[in-house]
Structure formats: C-alpha cells, structure tokens
Amino acid sequence: MAGPELLLDSSIRLWVVLPIVFITFIVGVLRHYVTQLLHNEKKVDLQQVSDSQVLLRSRILRENGKYLPKQSFAMRKHYFNNPETGFFKKVKRKVIPKNPMTDTSMLTDMMKGNLTNVLPMILIGGWINWAFSGFVTTKVPFPLTLRFKPMLQRGIELLSLDASWVSSASWYFLNVFGLRSMYTLILGQDNAADQSRIMQDQMTGAAMAMPPDPNKAFKSEWEALEIVEHRWALENVEEELMCQDLNFRGLFS
C-alpha cells in the first residue's frame, strides 16, 4: 500500500523547499505592510454598533437566561418579544441595499482586498508551478487517496506514484496557511498577512459589523427567543452545594 520509499535528491531540499518557504514568508510580510499603507479608517455607524450589541444581548439572554431569576428573565423576554411594544417587533430599520457593484466604498475595499491577497497568491503560485514543475518535492506524513493525485501532483504524470508525494505548488499552499503562526510571532496579532483569518471573517460576518439586513436579523432573533423556556439553574443549588465540605485550599497560606 505504501509503495517503495523514494529517495529525493538533497538539492531539492536546498533549492526548492527552503526557497519556497522563504518566498512565502517574505511575500506575506510585504503584504502586511502594503495593506497597512492602503488601509483607510472604516467609519462605523452608530446605529449599526448599537443594533449589533442589542442582538448580542438577546443571544446571551437565550444562552444564559437560566442563571437569572424567572421574573427577570420574563421581564427581558417581554422587552424584546412583546407583540406590541417589543424591541424586535417595533423597531424597523431603513435598509438601503448596498449593491457591491455601485457602492463605491465597498467596491474599493473589495478591490484592495483582491489586489493584496488574491493577486500575489495567484502570481506566485503560477510562477512556482512553472519554475518548479516536473518533480516531486516532498511527502505529506499521512496517506492520501488517489483522488488527490491530479490536484497535488500537477506536472507529474506517474500513475503508480503514491498520492502522498506532492509537487512544489502544493508545498507552496501548505506554507501559505502554515506560516500564519510565524506571522503572529513576528508581526504581532491582527496582522494583515493572515489570510485564513480574512477568510474566516468573510464567513462568520464579524460581530461588530452588521449583516446588511438588520430587519432579518431581528426577525430571526425574535423567533429564537420566542421558543426559549426558562429552566432555572439555581433550582437545587443549596443541595448541590452542601453535598460536600467546602474546599478552602489556598485560602490560608
């Protein structure tokens, strides 16, 4: 199953593996500084911040409401969900749909993002593919199925070669994601070279910025809160507390 162990020329290590690591790292650092130069202050809308905090509070009420007395929970739920005066029922925000094509600020942001992140990745990936093609670079330590072969072994047309042996292009991509912690070490937290974090941000839709339609968010939060029941976590707290002596370790030194 594992196939014969290949012995690679050590100059591959010297002239391919290490340079790729180097290049990826340098490009990442450059990207960080370029992003900082092109970065402009995002104007935060007061209404948006306020709404996002309200939604957060409602979510916390759903999750941790069981630590509050029943009446307090009911009071807050009523504040949010009351059919006439409840916050989620009463408050409608005017929504101007932001078309990404026409809204200038979003357009420039998108363009800048593409320029600094995607473009270098494509360029360098392509160059590496062209410059370092036709040979196997390294072996990943875990076995892979044959389906990965066309993806990871571009330019190597060997039918019987184990899918664990990969080409330099895949080594490059491994580096792009792997060097993330190195960037944190050198550039400090919050650095712009951190690509996977950018992708994560796009997926979770950051807690500070509102999803484009607050009304929809309100409606879904209303539904979620409506079905929550209050099960008081402190119902039997005394019994639970008293089943054993208190642990005073560390109180008296």
Binding site: V44, D45, L46, V49, S50, Q53, V54, L56, R57, I60, L61, N64, G65, Y67, L68, P69, S72, L234, V237, E238, E240, L241, M242, D245, L246, N247, F248, G250, L251, F252
Partner: protein, 299 residues
C-alpha cells in the same frame, strides 16, 4: 560603560518590569503608586530598550500619575504622546483626564465634546463625561446620562457595573439588581457578581428577596468555595428566613439545616486558619460566640 553580565542583567530587568506593567495593564490593576515607581524609572532610564511599547507605557504611567497627583510626570508623558500622535482622540482623552484631575471640569467637558463632534461613536469620551458628573456629585444627572449611554451601548459591562454602584448609593436597590442581573447574564461564572446581587437582594428584604439572596449566595459559593462573604451571607439569609413567623414548617426546617451547615463550614474555616497558632482556641471560641449572637431567635 557596563560589562557584559551587567548589560545582560539590565536587559533582564527591563524585560521583567515591562512584563509586570503589561500584566497590570491587561488585568486592570489600580496599583498606581507602584506603576508610577516602575514606569518612571523605565521611561527615564531605559526608554531606548522599550521600542514601540513605550507609547502604551506612557499612557499607563500617565493615568497612574494622575491617580497619585503627580502632575509633573503626567504632563511630561502627555507631551511625549502629543508629539508622537498629534491628532489622536485617544491622546485627547488623556488630556481631558488631566484636566479632570486638576478639577477644571468645564475645560475637560469642552475637550470631550469636541471629540464627540468628530466621532459620535467614541465611547471613551462619553464615559469620561459621566465620570465628571459623578466627581461633581451630580448623581442623578450621572444616572440619567449613563442610562442614555447604555440604551445605545447595551453591551458595555463597565458601564452596567458603574450604574449599579450609582443606584446602590441612591438606595434604589431594585434598579441596582437589574444592572447586576445584566452582569450575571454576561458573566455567569463570575462569583463576585452573584455575591453582589445576593447582597442587594438581602438588603431589599422581604421573604421572596431573602430566598433569592440565599440562592445566589449559594451559587457564589458553588462558583468559588473560598468566598467567605458569601458563606456568611448564606448563613444570615437562611437564619432570617428560618426566624420569620410566616414560613411553613418545611421551609423553616430546610433553612435551619442550611444555616447549620454554613455554621459548620465557618467554624471549619476558622479552625484551618488558626492551625498551628497559639491564639487558635480563642479565635475559634470567638467565632462561635459571634455566630450565636448573630443567630436570630427562632420561635
């Protein structure tokens, strides 16, 4: 000129002090005199070794200097920061804080208003304005402003805590309880909020509130076994309920049991505290007498 080992020790010392300052900054310590001592030395002697950290240290030392009435130090820190960050709102806020320390509240207010005109979402300036009201003793206005602030920024926990303190000072315990509930909701594992909430409920009085107080004292103990205040609170609330004439026999029995358990734990604590000390027997006896005198007569 320092030799190599001396240089090495100096480097280690600077790093050690820098880490200490960072810890105090991140965990919101208010040991201002210590910060001024350490920070002043670091800034005056070892500024070059601090690199970019120096700016945040300037901020930290400046605030500590204001706390200790060291206006000279605060002024020099402010000048350095102003020179480096001429248009910064953050530095403006520090300038405002210095004016507050000098009790020039009108000027401070003007400064904060100018920040807010430029950036209406700046929470720091708004909170400083509320602190000014509090410093001037205008509690009702402070409460009103804080309520307005919280309507827009429901998630600001520092503000909720400040508001609960203001309400307690005004003896408006119901509203203070509401604020503490917000804090308990967002920090369910913080035993101190549970304990404060229980104390407010105990102060409000009445059977229902005493029961809630007892429950939340117990919760605080559950979260942190070593919270002695909560232990005493548990004892007091349970004894109060047991002594009340309006409770059923079962409730009375339960509460007597809780109070007895609390007593045993308190004695245990004092015995452990006095271990190996000559005064042990006396203090344990003193605790027992105290508990007996606190015991509300049960009819």
């Amino acid at each position: 000129i320092l030799s190599i080992p001396e240089l090495f020790l100096l480097y280690r010392f600077t790093n050690y002090m820098r880490d200490k300052l960072r810890k105090w900054r991140e965990e919101n310590y208010r040991n201002s005199e210590q910060i001024v001592d350490v920070g002043e030395e670091l800034i005056n002697e070892h500024a070059s070794k601090l690199g970019d950290d120096i700016w945040i240290i300037y901020e930290q030392v400046m605030i500590a200097a204001l706390d200790c009435s060291r206006d000279d130090l605060a002024w020099s820190c402010l000048q350095e920061l102003k020179r480096q960050f001429p248009d910064s709102h953050r530095v403006k806020r520090l300038a405002g804080m210095r004016l507050e320390a000098l009790e020039r509240y009108e000027d401070a207010n003007k400064l904060y208003d100018s920040i807010l005109q430029d950036d209406p979402t700046n929470t720091a300036a708004r909170k400083r304005k509320i602190s000014i009201l509090r410093a001037q003793g205008k509690s009702s206005e402070a409460i009103r402003e804080l309520n307005e602030y919280l309507e827009q920024f429901v998630g600001d926990q520092e503000a909720w805590h400040e508001l609960s303190e203001l309400y307690i000072n005004e003896h408006d315990y119901a509203k203070a309880a509401f604020c503490l509930e917000e804090l308990m909701m967002t920090n369910p594992h913080n035993h101190l909020y549970c304990e404060q909430y229980a104390e407010v409920k105990y102060t409000q009085g009445g059977l229902e509130n005493l029961e809630l107080a007892r429950k939340y004292f117990a919760q605080a103990l559950k979260l942190n076994n070593r919270n002695m205040r909560a232990l005493f609170g548990l004892y007091m609330s349970a004894s109060h309920i047991a002594a009340s004439p309006k409770v059923s026999a079962k409730v009375k029995k339960d509460n007597v049991k809780y109070a007895a358990w609390a007593t045993s734990q308190i004695s245990r604590a004092y015995q452990m505290a006095g271990r190996g000390k000559k005064e042990n027997k006396c203090s344990v006896k003193a605790v027992e007498e105290m508990l007996e005198s606190m015991q509300i007569t049960m009819s």
